[in-house]
Symmetry: C2
Subunit: 241 residues, 2 copies
């Protein structure tokens, strides 16, 4: 029996693995800027916003800050960035509209088809640092057929803290060895593997745009290595219709 | 604008409202008994097992006992009941098989069709005292198309404690007034309404079998009163395909 033969649930990193956050952000930021007559390098703005993601969560992981959901961290990072760019005078509903771009990210082209195949054989869930309200709205808009929504908020711990993986396996009534994390990021998989999870690496070569330098190859012999959810469904024995 | 026009999510009581726990329990208990040559009144056994449900949760609600998921409470109640009936010598895997009958309950005939209509317009979720692992397995077997799984375990509080309703609304990024509880039980709706939820009463006249005496009518003017999820979908403005 292969290690992955024991898997009962596949849980997915979302930003970068399931959805193309960068293109979606650039598209919406550009449309917003055009409507307001604001001309900036929105690709750079998107990358700088994402750049504030890990530092904002690190405040929570370190214990310096009480539990705070990602929507609130995204909003604070945005406000700081708007100030840095000298963009002033936006109304609250405009800040809300921009913050919730993260609810409206488009999936990679293979994501929905692969998930539909996997769902017939496995429990499929998010395992994202996005909050529950963000992830469920994204799923409904994008047609992501999750069985349930798990992540940082259901564990009250942000990946890569081990509690995030362990507590969410417990919510599924599963041992970590029965759960497989699917992610486009070697560091997420390494943290999951340390808690006993199985691992599937899905290479997303353009997550960070044309100049991407990280996560272009598997840094370890993960249980599955592929470059799409179709390849993942094949590797996990889920028949095409 | 009617109160229900503001509703963004419908959350459902499950045991009795979505699934017919009693018939499902009797069917599986009878099959198990026949296989083992055990002859008992399995309808009575089912009712007595369900009768231990509220007292077992009350230990947790009162604070006398640390947080314990419903699968564990169901198992303890079952073991006590088997002992009371003088049924001895079952193996652990048999106890597990019986405990997880609660994962294999059949939906009422209107449930899936109504949920599919409601899902196109609203976030739809469980709001059950069942644990997450129980509810997701039930959903996959029965084809219940939840957007996510919420309940006692995600709030770490059992209904009708107000924290269960309030914390799960927070997980949805919603004010309680934007969430509607759907339930076949007046007391559940009353507790939800006290926290600001909207309410839909779905009468299930045979939840407790032919002699049912409770919850046969609405005890208050709930926002919606109906007797099926088809009627609920109609009341909530969800078109037939």
């Amino acid at each position: 029996m292969l290690p992955k033969d024991n898997v009962k649930a596949l849980v997915f990193d979302v930003f970068g693995t399931v959805v193309d956050w960068r293109s979606s952000l650039i598209r919406e930021l550009t449309a917003f800027g055009n409507g307001k007559g604001l001309r900036y390098d929105w690709a750079r703005f998107a990358d700088e916003w994402r750049g504030l993601y890990q530092p904002s969560m690190e405040e929570v992981r370190s214990g310096r800050r009480a539990w705070t959901i990602l929507d609130d961290l995204h909003r604070e990072s945005l406000v700081a960035l708007l100030d840095r760019y000298g963009i002033r005078g936006l109304e609250a509903h405009e800040i809300d509209h921009l913050t919730t771009i993260w609810h409206r990210l488009d999936p990679w082209p293979d994501a929905v088809d692969g998930l539909l195949r996997l769902k017939r054989r496995y429990i499929i869930s998010t395992l994202s640092n996005g909050n529950t309200g963000l992830l469920v709205r994204m799923a409904k808009r994008a047609g992501l057929p999750w069985d349930l929504i798990l992540g940082g908020e259901t564990a009250r711990a942000y990946k890569p803290q081990p509690e995030c993986y362990i507590r969410n396996a417990t919510l599924l009534n599963l041992d970590p060895s029965e759960v497989m994390l699917v992610a486009a990021h070697n560091n997420d998989l390494a943290a999951a593997a340390r808690t006993g999870y199985r691992t599937a690496f899905v290479i997303r070569r353009s997550e960070h745009g044309p100049g991407q330098e990280i996560d272009l190859e598997a840094e370890r012999a993960w249980d599955v290595v592929t470059d799409s959810f179709i390849g993942l469904a094949d590797a996990m024995g889920c028949p095409r219709r």
